[in-house]
Symmetry: C2
Subunit: 456 residues, 2 copies
C-alpha cells in the first residue's frame, strides 16, 4: 500500500481551497464579518497580554527569539522578534480573558490561533491588509472544518482550539506564504502531526490553555514555513489509518472537512463572546437574564436554578464545583450565573472583583446542571439556553434563549464591538486609552492597508 508522494490529482479539496482563496472571492458580508472578528480579537490580546501565564510565555518567547525582529509582540511597548516567537506570545495572550470568539458547531476558538501567526508573518513579509485577511479567512474555514470533523468524542478529551488550531494556523500562514496546493497539503500533514492539547489541566486550574493557543500558532506556522521549503507531511493526515481521526476521535466525519467549501462561510458563523466566561455558560446565563427580566426577579427571589444543558457543558464545567482562581471561575456555571444575576453581565471586572464575594458564592450554590435531550440534540450547531428558576415563593419559571448574545443571529454591532475592544484594552492596562482607540479605528480599515505594519 506504499504510495508515491502526492501528485496534483491527490490534493485534498481543503488544501486546495486554502491555497487558492483570494480576498475578492469572499462575499462582502463575510469580509465585513472577518473585520469584526479581527477587531474583536485585538481587544482580547490587549486584555490578556499582561496576565501572569501570558507573561511567562512572552518572556520565554522573547528569550528564544532575536531581541528585535519584523513581528510585533503586542502590548509590550514596541517589542518585536521573529514571526514564530511573536506568534507564540500573541496567541498566548489571545485566549486568557475568555472573551475571544467561538464557532459553535466546532467548539473552536479561531481568532486565538489564526490572527497571531498570520499577523506575525504578514508583518515579516510585508503583506497587504487584504492578503492578511484572506489568509485569516482561510485559517477560519480550515480550522472550523477540522474541528467539526474531529467531533464531540474528540472534544471530550482534547481542547479542539489547540488541536485543530495547528491546522488553522498552518492554513493562514501557508496562504500568506503563497504555498501551492500540494505544499499546503504537506503543511497540513506537518501541522496535524503536531496536534496536541488535553483538557486535564482544567481540573487543577493550571495555565495550559495559554500554552495550547501558543503551541498551535507556533506549530502551524512552522508547518507552513517548512512546506514552503518543500518539507513533506502525511498525504492524508485527516482520515489515514494512523492519522488524526484514528488517533484522536471516535466519531469523526470526513464530509465535514469539505462541507460547502466556497459557498458556506464558516467564518461568518463565528460568535462573539459577551460574557467573559467559557462559552458553555452563555446560553444558560442569557436564559437566566431573560427570565429575570420577564418576571422582574430580584436576587432574593431565587431559590434554585436548574440549567438544562448539553453533555459538553457537563463534561467541561462539571468538574468545577468550587473555583479556586478567577480563571477557573469562568468554567463554573454557578459563578457565571451568579455574576450575571447580580450585575446583568459577567464581564472581566465582575469576575476579578466578585467571583468569591459571599453573594456570588451563595447564589453559586443554588445552581445545578442537568442533561437536556433537546439542548443536547441541537448542540453543537445550536447552543440553546434553558433554565428553570424555582422562586422563594414556590413558583417554577422557565427562561429560554435560542441564540445567546453574540451569535450570528444575535450579533454585536460595530459600535458594540468597538466598545468591547476598548473595555478589554482598558482592563489589560497595557496601552493608554487613546492609543487603544486610535489602533482600533485603524484596525477597522485593515482591508485598505497596502502593507501590514505594527498595530500599536
Amino acid at each position: 500500500m506504499t504510495k508515491n508522494p502526492p501528485s496534483s490529482t491527490a490534493i485534498h479539496p481543503l488544501a486546495r481551497f486554502a491555497a487558492e482563496l483570494r480576498w475578492q472571492d469572499i462575499p462582502e458580508p463575510v469580509q465585513r464579518r472577518a473585520e469584526d472578528l479581527w477587531v474583536d480579537w485585538f481587544g482580547s490580546v490587549l486584555a490578556g497580554c499582561r496576565a501572569r501565564p501570558v507573561a511567562s510565555i512572552t518572556r520565554f518567547a522573547r528569550s528564544q527569539g532575536p531581541s528585535e525582529g519584523p513581528s510585533e509582540v503586542i502590548g509590550h511597548a514596541g517589542a518585536s522578534t521573529s514571526p514564530m516567537m511573536a506568534a507564540l506570545a500573541n496567541a498566548a495572550a489571545s485566549h486568557v480573558a475568555e472573551q475571544d470568539d467561538v464557532h459553535n458547531g466546532s467548539v473552536f476558538h479561531p481568532a486565538a490561533v489564526v490572527f497571531p501567526p498570520a499577523l506575525a508573518v504578514a508583518q515579516s513579509i510585508g503583506a497587504s491588509g487584504e492578503e492578511l485577511m484572506a489568509a485569516c479567512v482561510a485559517g477560519y474555514e480550515v480550522g472550523i472544518r477540522v474541528g467539526e470533523f474531529l467531533g464531540r468524542s474528540h472534544y471530550k478529551i482534547f481542547h479542539t482550539t489547540a488541536t485543530a488550531g495547528t491546522l488553522a494556523a498552518a492554513a493562514a500562514v501557508g496562504r500568506l506564504l503563497e504555498l501551492s496546493p500540494e505544499q499546503m497539503q504537506h503543511a497540513f500533514g506537518s501541522a496535524g502531526t503536531q496536534s496536541a492539547g488535553l483538557w486535564e489541566f482544567l481540573r487543577t486550574a493550571a495555565d495550559s490553555k495559554q500554552l495550547h493557543t501558543a503551541h498551535a500558532a507556533a506549530a502551524g506556522l512552522m508547518a507552513a514555513y517548512l512546506a514552503r521549503d518543500d518539507f513533506t507531511g502525511a498525504q492524508d493526515i485527516f482520515t489515514g489509518p494512523q492519522g488524526l481521526a484514528a488517533g484522536m476521535s471516535r466519531d469523526s466525519d470526513p464530509t465535514r472537512l469539505t462541507d460547502g467549501l466556497g459557498t458556506r462561510w464558516a467564518t461568518a458563523e463565528t460568535s462573539f463572546k459577551w460574557h467573559a466566561s467559557c462559552r458553555h455558560t452563555h446560553p444558560a446565563a442569557d436564559a437566566l437574564l431573560q427570565v429575570m427580566h420577564e418576571h422582574n426577579l430580584k436576587l432574593q427571589d431565587i431559590a434554585h436554578i436548574t440549567c438544562h444543558v448539553h453533555q459538553g457543558a457537563i463534561d467541561v464545567l462539571g468538574p468545577v464545583v468550587s473555583p479556586a482562581t478567577v480563571h477557573q471561575s469562568k468554567f463554573s456555571m454557578g459563578t457565571v450565573l451568579a455574576l450575571a444575576a447580580r450585575f446583568g453581565h459577567a464581564g472581566l471586572t465582575e469576575f476579578d472583583d466578585e467571583y468569591l464575594a459571599p453573594e456570588t458564592v451563595a447564589l453559586r450554590g443554588k445552581v445545578s446542571m442537568v442533561l437536556d435531550p433537546e439542548v443536547d440534540g441541537a448542540y453543537p450547531r445550536r447552543w440553546l439556553g434553558r433554565v428553570t428558576v424555582q422562586t422563594a415563593d414556590g413558583r417554577q419559571l422557565t427562561g429560554r434563549v435560542d441564540e445567546p448574545k453574540g451569535d450570528p443571529g444575535n450579533t454585536l454591532t460595530r459600535g458594540e464591538l468597538t466598545a468591547k475592544a476598548l473595555r478589554l484594552a482598558a482592563y489589560g492596562g497595557a496601552v493608554s486609552p487613546a492609543d487603544a482607540e486610535a489602533a482600533v479605528q485603524r484596525l477597522w480599515q485593515v482591508a485598505q492597508w497596502p502593507r501590514v505594519e505594527a498595530l500599536l
Copy 2:
C-alpha cells in the same frame, strides 16, 4: 472534584525522581552506559545534520532564533542560536539516519529527544558535564517509563519517540534548570499537553519523523522553562480522566511510570543500532545472518525468507511494500534483509547506494512477514529474531537470535561505538575526519567537563 493546586504531598514519584536525581546516585555501570549513549548519539547527529529535511528545519530554526546565541547548531560551521532553536535543529538531525539508540520495552528512541535539548540548555547555563549527564539520565528514565506506560495501543497510531519525547525532554531540561519536584510536575503537565506525533507520514515516506523529534525536544524544553517561571500544568497529565492515557492509549499501565525508580535503570536497557534501519527489522536481519553463516548460504541459495515477527513490526513495516525513498526503504523488511544478506550489514552507505539495485529488489520480493505468537508474546521486552529460509534446493532452515546486536546483552564495545560514530560522521560529511575524531575523544570525557562548551 475541583482540587487545589498541587501540594507537596501530591507530587508524582516520577516528577520527584527527575527533580532530585544526582550523578553520584547513578550506579557506575549506568554512568558508563550513559556515556556510551552520548557518544553514539553524537555520531547520529553528524550523520543527519545535512539531510534535506533536517536542513529545512535547521534553516527555519536559525531564521526564528537569534543569529548568535549560547547553544551550538551541530555540524553547521560554528553556528549558534538560542537553546530552543538549537534543540529544534539538533533533534531533527538525530533521528534521520535511523542509527540512534532505542529502548526495546518502550519502543522509544531516547537519545534524539534527550541529548539535543539538554545540551543546548547546558551550554546556555554553563552546566558541568556531570550535571548534563545526570539530566540526560533523568530524561531517559522518564521518557522510557512514559513510553512503557502508554503501551502498545498507543504505538499503533502514535510515534512514541515524539509523544513520550516531550516528557523526556522536559525532564532533562527541568533537571538542568534545577526545578523543584512541584515545578517538575508542572513541566510534565505542560510537556504532556503538547504530546503529538502520528505514524501516518510513513505511508507516503514524508519527512515528519524529523519534525517529531524536533517538536518533542522544543516543546519539552519550553515546558521546563515555563515551569521554572511557575507556569503550571495539569497535576495528573498521565492518568487523569482527560490526560494522556485517556486520549491516546487503550492499554496504559500506570505501574510502569514508577517501575523500579532508582533501582531499575532503564537507561542501561537501551540498545544501540547496528543496522541503519528501523529497529523492527533488526531481529530478523540478525537471524538471517545467523542462519546464512551457520549453513554457509549464498544469495542464490535463498528462495524465500519468512520473518516470524511481533504485531508492531507488521503495523510499522507492513505498509512499506515498494519503498520510494532511501528513508522509506529503512522501513522495508525485504530491503533490509536483502542488504544484510548481500553485504553482511545494512549500513547507511548500503542503503544509499543499493536500496534500488536489481539484486536488492529481487531479494526483497522473496521476503514475507507472519505474526508469531512466541515473538509477539515476548515483545516489547525482548525482540526475538526468527526467520525461516526456504532454499533453492528445497530445504527449510531456521535462523534465530534472542538478542540482536546492540542490545544490552549483546552490546557494542567502546571501540565499536567510536568506530560507528566516526563512520556516521564521515557519512554526514559535515566535519573533517580529524575534527570528528577529536570531538569523539573529548566526548568520552564528558563527566569530567567543568563546563559544557561547544562539541565541535
